[in-house]
C-alpha cells in the first residue's frame, strides 16, 4: 500500500482549473519528483498532500487517511509526522538557526533542554551546519538557509518529507549538496519524499520515480532510466530544455499573418 496516493484528483482556483484528474502513488522509502513547467499545478499537488488545500473531487490519501476529510486536530496530528521544505526555506527570522531547528521539538515534545540541544546539533551536523547554530537566518546564504530548513523539516523524524522547489535559485555546489542531502536523509530516516522541481538533471540523479505534469494532468512517468530513454515528446522537450514542442513557445494568439500588413486584430 503506497504511503501517498492520489486518485482522479481535480482542483480549481475559482473558475481556473489547475488539476484535471491526477493519479499518483508514492511508496514507502521512495523519493518521487513531480516535474512540469511553471504554473502547471505542481505546487498545488504538494499543498493537497500537505492538507493546505482540499481537492474539488477525487481522493488524496496519506498513510491511509483521506487528507481532505481530516479535521484540524487530525490534520495537525498527521502533519507532526510530515516535514516540509519551502521554496526559500521560510526560516523564522526572529530566531537563530538553533532555535529554528529546535522549534518543532519544543512545540511538540516535552524533552528536556539538554536532549533538545543534542538533537538539534545532530540535525545540524547532518546538514553540515553545526557551526552555524548561533547565526541568524539573515546571515545565511540561500543554500545554507535551505539546509537549515531541511534540518528543521526532519527534526521530528517524519515519515513523509515534502519539498517545494528545493533547488530554486541555488548555485551548482549548493544544488548538489541539497540533492545529496535529500536522498541521504530520506534513506537514513526511512522516510518517503515528494519533491516538486524543474531541475531535471539533479532530480534524475537522486529520485526513484518521476511524474511529469502538464496542463493539470500526468503526461509521463517512470524511473530515471525510463525517463532518459523515453521517446515521449513532452519528456524529450523537458529533459533537453527545448524551447518549443508539446509545451509551445508562444502564448495562444491569432495567427501572426492576420495581424501583419496593416490588417487589424
Amino acid at each position: 500500500m503506497p504511503l501517498v496516493s492520489l486518485r482522479d484528483v481535480r482542483f480549481a482556483y475559482g473558475e481556473r482549473s489547475v488539476l484535471r484528474g491526477i493519479d499518483l502513488d508514492v511508496h514507502r522509502g521512495q523519493v518521487v519528483a513531480i516535474m512540469g513547467g511553471s504554473g502547471c499545478g505542481k505546487t498545488t499537488l504538494l499543498r493537497l498532500i500537505g492538507g493546505q488545500l482540499k481537492a474539488n473531487s477525487g481522493a488524496v490519501e496519506v498513510a491511509g487517511h483521506e487528507v481532505g476529510k481530516l479535521g484540524r486536530a487530525e490534520l495537525y496530528a498527521m502533519r507532526r509526522r510530515m516535514g516540509m521544505l519551502f521554496q526559500f526555506g521560510a526560516l523564522f527570522t526572529d530566531m537563530s538557526v538553533f532555535d529554528n531547528v529546535a522549534f518543532p521539538l519544543r512545540e511538540h515534545t516535552d524533552l528536556p533542554p539538554t536532549m533538545i540541544r543534542d538533537l538539534v546539533l545532530m540535525k545540524l551536523q547532518a546538514v553540515g551546519l553545526r557551526g552555524a547554530a548561533s547565526l541568524r537566518p539573515g546571515e545565511l546564504s540561500g543554500g545554507m538557509a535551505r539546509r537549515v530548513a531541511l534540518a528543521r523539516a526532519v527534526a521530528l523524524d517524519p515519515m513523509l518529507i515534502l519539498y517545494d522547489e528545493p533547488f530554486a535559485g541555488l548555485d551548482p555546489i549548493s544544488l548538489g549538496i541539497i540533492g545529496q542531502l535529500i536522498r541521504r536523509l530520506n534513506d537514513a530516516l526511512g522516510a518517503s519524499s515528494v519533491m516538486v522541481t524543474h531541475d531535471v538533471h539533479e532530480s534524475l540523479e537522486i529520485v526513484d520515480y518521476i511524474y511529469f505534469v502538464s496542463d493539470g494532468r500526468i503526461v509521463a512517468q517512470g524511473t530515471p532510466d525510463e525517463i532518459r530513454a523515453s521517446a515521449d515528446p513532452f519528456v524529450h522537450q523537458f529533459v533537453n530544455a527545448e524551447a518549443d514542442g508539446p509545451v509551445p513557445f508562444h502564448y495562444p494568439a491569432q495567427p501572426i499573418d492576420s495581424l501583419l500588413g496593416g490588417r487589424s486584430a
Binding site: Q52, Y76, R80, M82, F86, A90, F92, P104, H108
Partner: protein, 266 residues
C-alpha cells in the same frame, strides 16, 4: 443616453462590489477575532510569548509616549494658564490639565501614538512572516500560527495600552506642573489640592482607563488582522501598514466620541 445608463450601471455595480467586499471583510475580521480569542489559551499558559510582545509593544513605546506626554502637558499648561488667568482662575490650571488628560487626551493620543508605533510594527511583522511563508511553515509544522504568532501580539497590545495611556497622562500632568508651577509661578499647593478635589477616581480616572482598554483592544485587533490578511507581497505589506494606521486612527476618534457621549453626559 445608453452610454449614460451604462455608466450609471457600472458606477452602481462598483458601489455594490465595494459594499459587499466591505461587509465580507468585516465578517472575516469578526471570525478572525473569535479565532484569536479561542486560540488565546497559549498566550496565558506560555506567558513568555506574551511578555515578549509586551516588551515590543509596550516597553519599546515608552520613549515616544513619555516625551509626547510631557510636551502635551507643557502645551496644556500654557494654554490653560493663558485662558484661566483671564478669569482669575489660574489656580485651577491643575484641574484643567488633569481632567483633559485623564478623560480625553491621555487615552486618545496614547492610542494614536501606539497605533503608529506598535500597531504598524505588528502589522509589518506578521505581514512579512506571511510573505516569506513563515506562517505557512508553522502551520505545516502543526503549530497554529494564530495561537503562536497572532494571539500573543494581540494580548501584548491589549495589556500595554492602558499602562501607556496612564504613563502618558502622568507625564502630561508633570509637564503641566512644570510649566505652570515651576516656570510661570502658579501656587504649588493650589495646583495639586484643586486637582485632588476635582478629579474623581470612579468617574474620571476609571472612564479614562476603560477608554484606553477599548482603544488597545481595537488597535491591536486591527494591527494583527491587517498583517494576517495582507496580500503576501512587499506592496501588500506596505498597504496593510497604511491601513492599520488610518483605520486605527479613525476607529479611535469615532469610538472616543461614542464612549464620551455615554460616559460624560453631565
Amino acid at each position: 443616453m445608453n452610454g449614460l445608463f451604462a455608466g450609471l450601471a457600472a458606477g452602481l455595480r462598483h458601489v455594490g462590489k465595494l459594499t459587499i467586499d466591505g461587509i465580507w471583510r468585516l465578517g472575516f475580521a469578526t471570525r478572525f477575532m473569535f479565532a484569536v480569542l479561542l486560540a488565546s489559551g497559549q498566550s496565558l499558559t506560555r506567558i513568555h510569548l506574551t511578555i515578549r510582545e509586551l516588551y515590543f509593544s509596550g516597553v519599546l513605546s515608552l520613549l515616544i509616549i513619555t516625551v509626547s506626554g510631557l510636551f502635551v502637558g507643557l502645551v496644556l499648561g500654557l494654554q490653560g494658564y493663558d485662558i484661566l488667568q483671564r478669569y482669575g482662575s489660574a489656580d485651577a490650571v491643575g484641574v484643567m490639565v488633569a481632567l483633559s488628560l485623564l478623560r480625553e487626551l491621555g487615552p486618545v493620543i496614547a492610542a494614536l501614538l501606539f497605533a503608529s508605533r506598535a500597531g504598524s510594527a505588528i502589522t509589518a511583522e506578521i505581514g512579512l512572516m506571511k510573505t516569506t511563508e513563515q506562517l505557512k511553515a508553522m502551520d505545516m509544522m502543526a503549530v497554529n500560527p494564530i495561537a503562536r504568532v497572532v494571539a500573543p501580539r494581540f494580548w501584548g497590545g491589549v495589556l500595554s495600552m492602558p499602562l501607556l495611556a496612564a504613563l502618558f497622562s502622568a507625564m502630561g500632568v508633570f509637564g503641566g506642573w512644570l510649566i505652570t508651577v515651576v516656570v510661570i509661578g502658579v501656587d504649588d499647593g493650589a495646583f495639586w489640592s484643586q486637582m485632588q478635589a476635582a478629579v474623581e477616581f470612579d468617574y474620571d480616572v476609571l472612564n479614562g482607563i476603560i477608554k484606553s482598554m477599548v482603544f488597545g483592544t481595537v488597535v491591536s485587533l486591527i494591527a494583527v488582522f491587517e498583517g494576517y490578511d495582507c496580500e503576501p507581497t512587499a506592496e501588500g505589506v506596505s498597504r496593510a501598514i497604511t491601513r492599520t494606521v488610518v483605520t486605527s486612527a479613525l476607529a479611535i476618534l469615532a469610538l472616543d466620541f461614542v464612549l464620551t457621549s455615554f460616559m460624560f453626559r453631565g
